[in-house]
Symmetry: C2
Subunit: 168 residues, 2 copies
Amino acid sequence: MKLTEAKQQFISSWGAFGTHWGINRTMAQIHALLLITPDPLTQDDIMDELNISRGNTNMNIRELINWGLVERVLLTGERKEYFSAEKDIWKVIKQIVKERKKRELEPMMKLLDQLEEVEGDKRDKHVKTFIDTVSSIKKLGKQADKTLDVMIRAEESWFVGSIMKMFK
Amino acid sequence: MKLTEAKQQFISSWGAFGTHWGINRTMAQIHALLLITPDPLTQDDIMDELNISRGNTNMNIRELINWGLVERVLLTGERKEYFSAEKDIWKVIKQIVKERKKRELEPMMKLLDQLEEVEGDKRDKHVKTFIDTVSSIKKLGKQADKTLDVMIRAEESWFVGSIMKMFK
DNA sequence: CCGAAGTTTCAAAAAATATTGAAAGTTTAA
DNA sequence: TTAAACTTTCAATATTTTTTGAAACTTCGG
């Protein structure tokens, strides 16, 4: 397979993959493009490469910056802004986990705390089932929260290395 | 908070939560409803409770069954089919992880295997960056695959219990 | 201060996704 | 075998999400 074709494949699959994870197609594609490109790119480079409009490119780059996955790079003597993606995939994963934890897991935990305090007699099976369900989601959610914190602080070697063998 | 209100909240938040995870709103809502309802429900019960059409209900129940999260229950002496959700949340999580691994992670790994074999001189920095990116995603993906396998086979106590303390 | 180069915004249009509901299909009791 | 009860399908419709691109805005050298 030629590089050009492989790049296309990678970008388009990464985009499709992203849509299963609540990330929009274009955002994932821009990220993919920046991951596999050695040097920083301008907004126009990205527009041309992916055939998308200026506005769309701008919005999604901004969103990638919000997620902490892409940064602005100012090349000396250049008027234009360049963009470049973090290339260390372990850092990328940790950053995504961190953001999603903050955006999704934490608000869900807050809601469950409230819902657990529903009024009513626990001898009523409707009340009981509700509280039991909420509590057990909360319990696992709290654990997931802790586990992800450990992961966010960890080095790649922790994940890939020998410690994990203990679980085999 | 009254039970009725709490139920509504739970269902609607679970639905919104689902959309961030590539699951459609209605599917997540039906799942939420079944999770907090002690007895199995019929399709009509679900339609009435969530105010959705017959077709939509039917499709999404079917999808939940495909995911292994809901099962048909035949009550003796009843003509109608009833539906009920697995209530053990750890089992639910494992089932979701298992399905998503099969549907998403595994196909991605296959693609990366192909893309790693791109033609070209590794001294060309475009080729090098591409291969390095693909390889490192593959490496972490393989590790994630193994880790999730361990998780799928594990008991809840593994996740919540003392073993995890080693990582703190 | 001017104007060219570059960036951002956002209302409108397009595309993708989800929902409806009536018709077709299936099952079962008598 | 019939018909009532129940389930499934799917073309049309509605909703949501994404994308476009022109206009507004910002920045900077001279």
